[in-house]
Amino acid sequence: MSRTVTDVICPFCGTLCDDIEVVVSDDGRKLHEVYNACAIGAEKFLHSQAKDRITRPRMRQDDGSWKEITYDEAIDYTARILVNAKKPLMYGWSSTNCEAQAIGSEIGEVVGAVVDNTATVCHGTSLIAVQDIGIPSCTLGEVKNRADRILFWGCNPAHAHPRHMSRYSIFPRGFFTGKGHTARKVIVVDPRPTDTANVADIHLQVEQGRDYELFDAFRVAFKGEQLPDFVAGIPKEKIYEAAEMLKSGRFVIIFFGMGVTQSLGKNHNIDAAIAVTRDLNEYTKAAIMPMRGHYNVTGSGQVWGWLFGFPYAVDLSRGFARYNPGETTANDLLRRDEVDAVLVIASDPGAHFPFSSVRKIYELPSVAIDPHETPTTEVCKVHVPVAFVGVEVGGCAYRMDNVPIETRKVVEPPDGMMTDEEFLRRVLERIKELQGV
């Protein structure tokens, strides 16, 4: 027999859907089926049931093969590389819960590490822009209930956040938006003709790397000033039309993604995007929101915010917290040989960092804490598999609009597996033993 668990939170992307239903065996040991989730989310749940899943820590041997070790050995190894390092890097944090992030933060304090999360290659530039100019934003329910102008800039939720458009942005019928998508206008700015662009009323096919100019052109158009015939490859008539569409809305929301945060201009693009939002508030109501990727990258920025005062790239190595993106960011540290041990947790820099950074991880004492086998586990000295947060253990996660939701445990992890939180707690204890405090 089986039973259905409702109101399950999907631990995949920043959309953090909380209406998933999961069918599990009566004894809670097998997960059979996933409902309501998108294809990516369902796969995340189902992957916990993989027959070939790694369930015990492993250490790389000299000949390149893996040798199974105990959790105690893995704890000891992890504690020792952190204690022995002058400046270890503790990177990742975006696919685990806030409880684990909080303990990891304390470890970082005790050993004098640099802690950085995946924002460093994602929305870190947005965080810098917010420090420059602020951010008028809202929760996703405000979008659902009020927004009648939706602008997606440099993002493609149809593929990256598959349920975003139906749950929050384009299609839902909310309190003041009873007609759903028929009463909304959608603008997409993207150099590519994406599946999101296909549902737009206006698709502005901006020339790659010219986003900043187009943002500025919007600000000019709002004021009714003159534009040149083409800006960023877009004819001015189209820009005026789009600007008028935004100004005439009752509630405008701008969503933006990696297309603007990590292309030419980086944080300056986001400065301009937020300035566009501020300007729109002179005429109507407008908000802007980053499309955060990992389901709890937002949470790690929050935890470090209240513990250290900075959302990412926090250098604790001098005994107090410093923040200087470009200096204290993971890639810059790795490539300049400034760190001498690496702990990776709940993310996959092996797949997403430049090769020059990944090679440094390979050359250093390193441990990867991750339920999956990933390109990162392939380059680390020790791999510590852990229970899936949001599937096999609960804990707090923050949605892309910073709304915290408590994820649920729906199924038991394989016998004897540790969670991120337990593992880090044991590492912290071991570090204190080694330091004699």
């Binding site: 917010v130 309190f175 900075f310 910073n402």
Partner: protein, 568 residues
């Protein structure tokens, strides 16, 4: 637990009515006891020192989403402020928006042991509780905001007090909240469309209800439940010249209503940071103090309490659920602006602000905050606050004490203002020679707020049976002192006990204490209509499901639940 005897200090305690006489204070099992009850106590020699109960802050923004926005979007606030880890202390940084760790330690250093988070957006309650969990030493509670909540607007539009009360009880339980907070009633909902409610009769768009109806209805719902604290309000029209009339109109909404609470409070309305609501004039050019008009009303109506929101003349970070006000502020000072509107519930904004002594308006604001305290007839109803961090960081409380206790200190400050004469013309402070004594300070910072919170059975005094929260300050009130000695002494308690645990010894933090989170569990009769409305709103308009809304006990490792029975 260890027993303690604090011997021979000058004790100031309004609860037992002792005004600086020498007395001994005994602690056993976390409570104050008669001195005869301790057998083998550790003795703290407090001879020549001041002894007071632990401080109680009725209103500060210290935990939650907008506080963290303030931290994360102001890296400059950390410049030159970081203190490395040492002893039991973890690393700590930030000035106007300190990290949670520093918040706990810095309050403790001032001798404070209980701090209420002033505005918790219900949907973000988990975040608030996570930060409270990571704030050492202090007992804390948080006030969920109700003044722009769609349930409340819809019930009170039809005068449905019982339904409002049932919803309030449900939301307090769901969010683990402490009291009914109201911020710019109706105005923040209007801000969902970029609008505002500028006075108490300005109708809320679509909802067809006025701020006056919201405020009066929430007072009545609060008394229907008999909650420990009264309705706690930040009225409409904050920060604008001439707004004192809106404030008086708001005060009048409480007329004729008496408290119906078993928790010993006398007020039915607490109006917070009144300094921001006591402005005359009709522009920044003729901006002036209306503190006398405001405080006259408070003095003559005993069902109101207020806190000051005193300006400290610092660079700080303003943050409030008053979304339209923060937009107004960013248009004034052109500094960065963060805003978050929260579905069905509330909104908020954050903008840095510099209260410069060289700006006339800032200097007038500074005067108004102090005038309110110095013109108050009953210090048990007027509490010290800076609306941290809005009018200044809480770490300036000792400086405010100095200004309140010393005319000389005030005159020094006034004389240093760039527009001294204009400031004097627009205010009354220069003509006030009153100097508060430590007994009155204890009323404004201990006994008064504890009573208004409905917590006088555990906090605010040194009487046997109360929780053993007590501070010893290196200050001899009977010897001559300079004004700055006050600030120095009250910035750094020599000893501090929190529920009988010594957390500060010889000015050093020696324990992270045993912090608790207070929340109110109000029982009401079953109300099927409200539960049906709750289910429907979650199904149709919220973006989280009802089953994922309630804050679980997991977030409150050490809860202190206050039970209220409103089923009769």
């Amino acid at each position: 637990m260890a027993e303690y005897l604090i011997k021979n200090g000058f004790v100031f305690d309004p609860v037992i009515g002792i005004r600086g006489d020498i007395a001994d204070i005994a602690i056993k099992d976390g409570k104050f006891v008669e001195t005869s009850e301790v057998k083998d106590p550790k003795v703290i020699d407090a001879a020549g020192k001041t002894v007071m109960a632990g401080g109680v802050d009725v209103h500060a923004h210290v935990a939650g989403p907008k506080v963290n926005v303030g931290r994360n979007f102001r890296p400059e606030d950390k410049l030159f402020t970081y203190k490395p880890r040492s002893g039991v202390e973890r690393m700590q940084g930030g000035f106007s928006v300190p990290t949670t760790i520093r918040t706990g330690y810095n309050y403790a250093r001032m001798g404070y042991t209980t701090v209420m988070e002033a505005a918790m957006p219900p949907l973000y309650a988990r975040h608030t509780h996570e930060e409270i969990r990571d704030t050492p030493i202090l007992d804390q509670g948080a006030y969920p905001v109700f003044g722009n909540n769609w349930f409340v607007l819809e019930y009170l539009r039809n005068d449905e007090i019982e339904n409002t009360a049932a919803y309030v009880a449900w939301l307090l339980r769901a969010t683990k909240g402490y009291a009914v907070k109201v911020v710019n009633p109706g105005g923040t909902e209007a801000w969902g469309w970029g609008l505002n409610c500028e006075n108490i009769h300005d109708p809320v768009p679509y909802f067809n209800i006025t701020p006056a109806q919201i405020v009066k209805g929430l007072i009545e719902a609060n008394e229907y439940l008999g909650l420990p604290h009264s309705m706690h309000i930040h009225a409409n029209n904050l920060g604008n010249p001439g707004n004192y009339t809106t404030t008086l109109d708001t005060f009048r909404l409480s007329e004729g209503i008496r408290p119906r609470s078993k928790f010993g409070r006398d007020q039915v309305m607490h109006h917070t940071h009144v300094q921001f609501h006591s402005y005359g004039g009709d522009s920044w050019a003729n901006f002036e103090s209306k503190a006398p008009e405001i405080i006259d009303y408070v003095n003559s109506h005993d069902n109101i309490t207020i806190d000051l929101g005193a300006v400290t003349l610092d660079e700080t970070t303003t943050m409030t659920a008053d979304g339209p006000f923060e937009h107004h502020l960013t248009e004034l000072n052109h500094l960065k602006w963060a805003n978050t509107d929260v579905e069905l519930e509330t909104g908020s904004g954050v903008v840095p602000y510099i209260y410069s002594p060289s700006i006339k308006v800032c200097a007038i604001q500074w005067c108004i905050g102090l005038e309110l305290a110095l013109l108050a007839k009953d210090p048990m109803r007027v509490f010290l606050s800076t609306d941290h961090p809005n009018a200044g960081p809480f770490t300036r409380y000792p400086r405010i004490m100095k200004w309140l206790m010393s005319e000389e200190a005030r005159n020094q400050q006034i004389d240093s203002f760039k527009y001294r004469d204009k400031v004097i013309d627009a205010t009354n402070l220069a003509g006030i020679d009153r100097e508060l004594d430590l007994y009155e300070i204890a009323q404004m910072t201990r006994a008064g707020p504890a009573k208004a919170l409905g917590l006088s059975q555990i906090y605010g005094g040194l009487a046997p049976g109360l929780d053993a929260d007590v501070a010893v300050y290196d200050f001899n009130p009977n010897e001559p002192y300079a004004p700055d000695d006050i600030e120095t002494a009250f910035s750094s308690a020599e000893h501090l006990f929190k529920t009988g645990v010594q957390v500060i010894r010889d000015h050093e933090i020696v324990s992270n204490g045993n912090k608790r989170t207070l929340w109110v569990n109000a029982k009401v009769n079953e109300n099927p209509q409200v539960m049906r409305d709750v289910r429907e709103k979650f199904l149709r308009y919220y973006t989280v499901t009802l089953n994922n809304y309630e804050v679980s006990g997991h977030y409150l490792p050490n809860p202190y639940v206050i039970e209220v029975d409103a089923t009769q």
